[in-house]
Structures are given as C-alpha cells and as structure tokens.
C-alpha cells in the first residue's frame, strides 16, 4: 500500500460518531460505501445527474458523489440505513412498497432521502411539489407516477400521526 496524505475526520452518521483517516480526495459517497460499508447509498453516474447517492448532510439532501469526505468533518450525515427506527419502517418506506414506487430499487434510497427532506420542509406537498422535490433523482423504471403516490401516502400518514400525537 502507498503512504498517503491522510486527514482525520469525525462524522456523525445515522446518529453514531465515526472517526477515520481519509485521503483529502476521497468522495463522501466512497467514504460511506467503502469505509463505513453502508452500501445502501448508490452510485449511478459521474456527473452529479442521477441522485442515487443522495444523503442528508445536516438535514439537507446532498449528492454525496460531489462532496469530499473531509468537507463533512464534524457534521451529521443520514443515509437510507438510518431511516427505519427501532425496526419500524418509516412511512416513506411503507409508501414506496404499498404504492409500487420502486422496481429495480437502485434509485430508491436516494429517492427516499430526497423526499424525507422534502416532507420535513413541506409536510403537505402538492403533486407538483413532489415532482420538483425529486427532480434531482433519476429513475429508469417507474416513470415517477407511483413514486409521487408513495410520497403522498407518507405525507398523509405522517400528518395523521401528528394529529393523533403519536
């Protein structure tokens, strides 16, 4: 192995601190996939076009193929692996399954992360809001129509939960 110029970083990923020595050029997506072995975040292009690598950085959706790992030192990252809580699926995950919002599943983690952020900001989005909300995420299988339905399902479920104070 080569002796490389490395920098120590500490990143909170899905609520847990990780410290690692990384090359300055290491992309965040590779840090997540290769260093942390969280392979739910995918790579679908090399031009920041497809959104398969979308994660949340301090709560904002970000394409992790276009951020260096060193840039997230001291910050908080959420990936698809952290979306289900205590073994219970998030309403978005349920929605994708119930409404057939996925086929090959490759874009799905990125879609869920983007729409997770969308619903945080806009709990009752219109169809157009949802379409714009996922316009940075490409899907080759579904034609998006059922993804829209999946997000609507989750929005309804989340607002019902809020009303009942769950």
């Amino acid at each position: 192995m080569t002796t490389k110029n490395v920098i120590n970083i500490t990143v909170k990923v899905n609520g847990k601190d990780h410290t690692a020595a990384v090359e300055p050029r290491l992309l965040l997506v590779h840090f997540i996939r290769e260093v942390l072995a969280l392979t739910g975040t995918h790579i679908g292009c090399d031009t920041t076009s497809c959104g398969a690598c979308t994660i949340l950085l301090d709560g904002r959706p970000v394409k992790s193929c276009t951020v260096f790992a060193v840039q997230v030192d001291g910050r908080e990252v959420s990936t698809i692996e952290g979306v289900a809580q205590n073994g219970a699926l998030h309403p978005l995950q349920e929605g994708f399954k119930e409404k057939h919002g996925l086929q090959c599943g490759f874009c799905t983690p990125g879609m869920i992360m983007s729409t997770y952020a969308l619903l945080q900001k806009n709990p009752q989005p219109t169809e157009q809001d949802i379409r714009w909300g996922i316009s940075g995420n490409l899907c080759r299988c579904t034609g998006y129509q059922n993804i829209v339905k999946a997000v609507q399902y989750a929005a309804e479920k989340l607002s019902a939960k809020k009303e009942t104070g769950e």
Partner: protein
C-alpha cells in the same frame, strides 16, 4: 378459465405487494458494487480517445511503478492466452483489449489493477499509448463506398458490409407497388440510443486456485448463457464456473452481452490470485456498452384510394458500429424486425436489411424490446400516418380498415410469423373512447383557427415476444427454452428456482403468484431464487419480454406436475380413487363430499411422512419449457401534445395506453411496467440520442447530454387493458414489459407531426428536441 384465489393465496389478478421491496427500501439490496470479498482489488480500463487509429506502442512502466498497482494488462498479454478477441453473441468477434488498432472512441486498450479504485484510476492515467490516426468512417451510408476505409482488417472479407438479410416476396410486392392507385413513402431514422440502466455494468471475479473454481459475480441478464460462453471461450470446465447475478439495478437489454471488462477482470483474478472488482462509470457505460437501434429505414405502402392496403416494402441500413455485437437469435440478423407488417392485413410484403460496420461502439442490443420489434413498430405506425395524410383520412379510420380481423387468427403474415391471437380494433376503440378522440379532433380544429398547435397521435402496435420455440430460436446454438424447478417442503412452504433473472420486474413476487394460482400455496410462502448458476436450472435469461411466456410457463407446468403427484397422495390419504377428487386452489376434495378434503399443506407433509407404497418420496418438479410459438401482445396508445411556438417545446398533455397482454398475473406490477416503458419511450422520442461528430467523437456520452427524463418532464400516464389470452401459453399470458417502449415512440411522433401537418410537415426524425421543432416552426413562419 382462471380459477379465482383468495387474497391470502394471492394467485392471478391480485396486486400482491412485492416481496423484493423490503430489502430495497432499507438500503439492504445486494447489487454488484455492494459485493465485497476479502482481499478484493480493483480494475480500471484505459480507453481510446480516437475512433480509428493504429496502436503504435503501449507503455505501462510508469503505471506499474505506482505503489499499489498490481498489474497492467494489454491486448498483447491477452493474445498470449488466446483471449485478445472474444466472440460476440452474433456471428462476429470483438477485441477484448486492442491489438493493432482501435475502432471506436472509448474502446478498451489496457486494464489496470490496483489495491484500491483511486490508485487504479491514477495508474490508468499513467499508461501511455501512441496512436496513429486513421480515416474515420461515421456515416453508414458511405460504408461501402469505394474510398471508404476498411475497418475490420481481421476479416477475410475486405468490406464494411456485414450481412444482407431479406424476407418476403420481392416480386409480388414490387408488382403491387407499381399498380397501386396510392403509395406512401417514409424515410425514417431510429437514432442510436442506450438502455442506460441506473446501475452500470460490472463484475467481481474470484478464482480459487485450490479448487480451480471461478466465481463470477456479474450484472448479467443471462447468467447461464454467460457461464457457457466463458466455458467455451476460456476453456475452464463448466462445472468450475459459477456465475452469480446479484440484485440488478435495471437492465433493459444492456446487461445481455459479455463485455471486455468481465474478461479482463477474470484474467486479472487468475493472474493475481485475488478477487478483482470492475465497475464501469456512467460515461463508460454510455460510450462503450451495448447501444440500441441505429436503423436507417424506408417504408412504402401500397393502397387503394379508400385506404385498403395491399403491400408493404421495407429497406433498412443497420449501423452496428465496430463489431457486430448485437444480441439476436442466431437465425435473425435483424432480430424480429420482420414483424414490421404490424397489426395490418397485407397480402404481400418484402423486407430487406443490410448491416454495416462504422467507427462507433459495438452493438446493438434489444433495448426494452424483443429483438428490433421497436424499430419495426415505429416504422409501420409512423408510415400509417404518412399514408393517412396522403389520403386525407383520419389515422384511426385507416388503421381500422386494415387491421387483421379477430376471426382471422391464428394469422400467417406475409413475412412468415404466425400471430397467435389479437383483437386490435377492441384496443383502438377503448383507447379512443378513454382519450375522448372525437372531442379532441374538434378542439384541434378550433385551435388551428386560432393558430395554436395541438396534435393527436395514435399507435396500434403489435409485439412478438417470448422467444422462443426451439425449432427457430437459439443463441449461439443454445435453444431458447426456459426453466423452473419447484420444491415443496414438508410444511407446505416452497422454493422455486428459475432460469431467468429479474432486473426490477418483480419476479420474486409474480413467479410466487403462479405457484399460488396453480397449487394454492400462498404466494407469501413461496421463495423464488434466480441468478446463481450453481443452484438454478439452466435458462436463457430475462430480456425480450420472455420471462412470463417461457419461465412463467415452466413455473405453471412444474406446479401442475406437483399437483398431479399431490392428487395421488390425496387419494391415498382420503382412501378414494384419483378420479373421485376435485381440485380447487389449495385443496383436493372428494366429489360430493366437500367435508372430506386434504389441503396442499397436508399433502406436502404426507409426501415426506405418509406416501403411498411404491411412490417416490418428496414433492418437487422441474420443467424446461419450449414454447410452441411466440406470443403477440398488442395495444393502442394515444398521445395528445401541445407545442409552444415560442420555444418549440412539446408538452404531452394526455396519454392513454391500452395494452392487451392476455391474462395478467399482478395488475399492480403490469401497470408499473407500462409506466416505466412509456417514460423510456418518451425519452427516446423527445430527448435521447447518441450521435457522433465527423471525427467519431461521441455526442451523448454522459448524463449531462444523454438525457433521462425527470419527474418534471414525465407526464401522467393513463392505462387500461383489453384481454385476449394467448391460446398456446399455459395460462394465457403474453408478456408486457416492453410493449410501452415499443408502442409509444410512434404515438409521440405521430402527435407532433399531426400538430404540424396542416403546415405541410410529413415527418420529423427523433429526438423531437425543442431546438429541432423550433427550427421547423421558424421555417414554416409560425415561430413566435
């Protein structure tokens, strides 16, 4: 008649939620790039910047010196092992790594292996290649000119012409063309496009030197066929090759061929003695792997003045790029393109195709398409509108006058296909009713008076899928059957393994529903496995909408074999003769004594614990299904578009898709397939093209310029069905995954041309980009 099952059993007609989703929605899928083996190292390809050049020298010393680099493999290294070239899936060979010269931009030149992917990429930059540029051939129409450079020096035949293929009656067609009161001619180019699944291609090759076994994890739509190809080409005994196709992030035909990267990674794994991973970048995927289409087509229709057609003549120039790496059944150089007579009753037809080499990436694959049926459907459906325009006749009416009538099936078409079933007018009528055709035509007339541009486009396509019968269909000699192996456990749960491989189609759910339908075992109790050649029965894989017509049929027939044995065991348990039993999904009952019954679960237990004397224990069956014919799904799609005169942008306002895929297993999954296929059709019609400049530089080699529609461009799809079951398929299904991609491009283009037809526009080649449309508007003096 399909017996109804309860939702708990979940047989045909139930929108059972997909089993595969649970892992995908939690990021727990296992795609190729997720495979991590101990000691694994990484490959990176060095590619040619030139479209046509002599390779003078490859210098690898600097790359090899970089710490962490384990090997740099060149074509000459491969030549020593006899692996510099590999066979394509269609009567040709392809360079694995360039020897002598390169023939397309992005061609594979050297393969670098290193401890990590960053080092591998660094080292690839350090490989120095000296090229001497050669004249480039880009235009296929010039490929047989006297002064055209000969691209393939390896071939005996010193020509860029690959094949001539013709079918039908040339003379009879010619005579009808000559004597017809009306003829219509269309010259249409179906541009080169790319399946572009969201996951690119890749592999992990792991060679165990102590056992001599190669385990090949591959993004493969056809793992069994790939194993056999490896055995034949590399000389590794077939039992020592295990191909595993893990979860696949979309295929659409792109993952049918064998690519040079797979071979290089395997050679590297053997040489280095460590597992080697190679995964393409998106640019590499778009620039070097199986493209689709690239057909330069001409169609002529002969008709009387009332629009009754008599003959069709078709001529095609097919651009295959540098190697004929098309993936077609062996006897069909243009695949099933000769389905170009479509839904219409011609008395004569003639079709000829010539294939040529150019300095472009090799292909072409069947992109969400049953072997060139997309090109055929587009051509005939576009030509129908040209004839309608010529006759000043409503395009729906012209279609209606020429459909093969329902009572003429099975119908032998003049190009030799025996259509199994169809009711084309039924689908057309339903589509027109759903879209509100009459009102739309009135609206269009009013809008035209106001100078607004609105169009309606119809496509009444026919497919030909489910390849195929062994008397006609094989790939490299292997007949195109497919298989299922069903094993029922003592507790009545089951596992079924298949010769196909899902890439998002939901096989784990729909195949389980077939068992549920045939045996009454709940779909949730049936595990489906595919993709591991050490465990699954041999099959040709998933493409060309063949899974349900072939493996689906095998699943039904294997289930019926199990049911036959279950009947014997039930008779034994109930102490009656087999003839006294009647079946409903899930149990055998004694006729006239409905209380006396045995469930399939009880019978399964008895198969291991209390079987009749002399009977072989266990409850399992295998079926290799050789279909008697192909299936012929069809439908009518109608698109309504509005054109912005200021920007040339086309908005798809409304789209109705009526499909007839016979009996449906899972309506939810069928609808999802249709949505996805229509969106890919939209992309092809409006956005996508891989073209080349005069030097052979790829235009459209990244997602920045090879456009995939987002949720914003994608309209709302309305779907519906008619049902004409296939008469020869065990449960009357036909296949559906590709129909929307086959049928929709013509609907979109017909709609746009319809919007502009009063201005004298007769045809526009895809993609119908705003720039292209705006230029036409400007030329016609209507641009704002």
């Amino acid at each position: 008649m399909i017996q109804k099952t309860s939702p708990e059993i979940g047989g045909f007609g139930h929108s059972v939620k997909r089993k595969e989703d649970l892992r995908f929605i939690q990021g727990k899928g296992n795609y190729l790039d997720d495979v991590r083996l101990p000691g694994m190292v990484y490959g990176h390809m060095v590619r040619s910047p030139y479209a046509h050049a002599r390779v003078i020298a490859i210098r690898t010393e600097e790359a090899k010196k970089l710490p962490g680099v384990l090997a740099v493999i060149t074509g000459e290294d491969l030549a020593k092992a006899g692996l510099a070239w590999m066979p394509t899936l269609f009567h040709d060979k392809q360079m694995v790594l360039a020897t002598g010269k390169v023939l397309f931009q992005s061609q594979e030149v050297a393969f670098v292996v290193a401890e990590d992917q960053y080092t591998a990429a660094d080292a690839a930059e350090l490989v120095e290649v000296d090229y001497e540029e050669l004249p480039v051939l880009v235009d296929p129409h010039k490929s047989t000119d006297a002064d055209a450079p000969i691209l393939r020096e390896d071939r005996e035949e010193k020509s860029n012409h690959i094949f001539h293929w013709e079918v039908g009656d040339r003379d009879a067609t010619e005579q009808k063309m000559k004597s017809a009161p009306v003829t219509a001619k269309l010259k249409a180019f179906f541009p080169r496009c790319h399946p572009a699944p969201l996951e690119t291609c890749g592999c992990v090759m792991d060679f165990n030197s102590s056992t001599g076994k190669l385990t090949a994890w591959m993004t493969s739509q056809a793992p069994h066929a790939h194993r056999t190809v490896f055995a034949l080409v590399a000389g590794i005994p077939e039992q020592n090759i295990r191909v595993i196709a893990p979860d696949i992030g979309g295929g659409f035909g792109n993952k049918v061929p064998v690519y040079p990267g797979y071979v290089c990674a395997a050679v590297a794994a053997l040489t280095i003695g460590r597992p080697v991973k190679w995964v393409e970048t998106r640019s590499e995927n778009l620039q070097s792997t199986g493209f689709a289409r690239d057909y330069h087509m001409e169609a002529e229709l002969a008709s009387d003045k009332e629009g009754h057609m008599s003959a069709l003549r078709v001529k095609v120039l097919a651009d295959h790029g540098a190697f004929n790496a098309t993936a077609q059944p062996t006897k069909f150089p243009a695949g099933l393109f000769s389905i170009c007579t479509g839904s219409y009753d011609f008395s004569s037809a003639f079709c000829e195709v010539d294939g040529v080499y150019t300095n472009k990436a090799p292909g072409g694959v069947a992109y969400r398409c049953s072997f060139r049926v997309t090109e055929a459907a587009y051509l005939i459906e576009r030509a129908m509108d040209v004839l309608a325009q010529e006759l000043k006749m409503d395009p729906a009416e012209l279609r209606r006058r020429n459909f093969i009538p329902p009572d003429k099936f099975p119908y032998l078409c003049p190009l030799g296909w025996n259509y199994d079933s169809g009711n084309y007018e039924g689908a057309l009528n339903l589509a027109l009713e759903k879209i509100g055709y009459t009102e739309l035509r009135q609206e269009q007339a009013e809008k035209r008076k106001k100078g607004e541009l609105m169009g309606i486009g119809i496509s009444s396509f026919t497919e030909i899928v489910g390849a195929g019968p062994s008397h006609t269909f094989d790939i490299l000699g292997i007949k195109m059957f497919d298989s299922a192996e069903l094993r029922v456990h003592p507790t009545g749960k089951a596992i079924m393994r298949m010769g196909t491989k899902s890439q998002g189609q939901g096989h784990e759910t729909t195949y389980a529903q077939i068992v549920a339908q045939e045996l009454g075992i709940p779909a949730s109790d049936v595990v489906i496995e595919e993709g591991d050649t050490d465990t699954a029965p041999y099959g040709l894989g998933t493409y060309a909408s063949r899974s349900t017509p072939t493996s689906g049929a095998a699943a039904a027939l294997a289930s019926r074999k199990v049911r036959d044995k279950a009947r014997k065991i039930a008779a034994h348990l109930l102490e009656v003769s087999e003839e006294d039993l009647e079946w409903e999904p899930g149990k055998f009952s004694v006729k006239g004594a409905p209380g006396k019954s045995k469930t399939i679960q009880e019978i399964a237990f008895a198969a291991y614990t209390n079987f009749p004397e002399g009977m072989e224990p266990g409850l399992e069956a295998v079926n290799y299904y050789d279909p008697p014919n192909l299936t012929f799904p069809f439908g009518t799609y109608v698109a309504v578009v509005d054109i912005d005169k200021g920007t040339g942008e086309v908005k798809v306002r409304k789209f109705v898709a009526i499909d007839d895929c016979g009996n449906i297993i899972n309506p939810m999954i069928v609808e999802g397939q249709v949505h996805g296929g229509l969106t890919e059709g939209l992309a092809i019609a409006f956005m996508q093209e891989i073209s080349y400049d005069e030097s052979g530089n790829i235009q459209g080699g990244t997602f920045m310029d090879y456009l995939v529609p987002t949720a914003i461009e994608t309209p709302h799809w309305e779907t519906g069905h008619t049902c004409t079951p296939s008469p020869h398929h065990p449960f009357g299904a036909k296949g559906v995954g590709e129909s929307p991609n086959v049928g929709s491009p013509a609907a979109f283009v017909n709609a746009v041309v319809d919007a502009l037809s009063h201005l004298g526009v007769k045809h526009i080649d895809m993609p119908l980009s705003p720039w292209k449309i705006w230029q036409i508007l400007k030329e016609k003096g209507v641009a704002e």
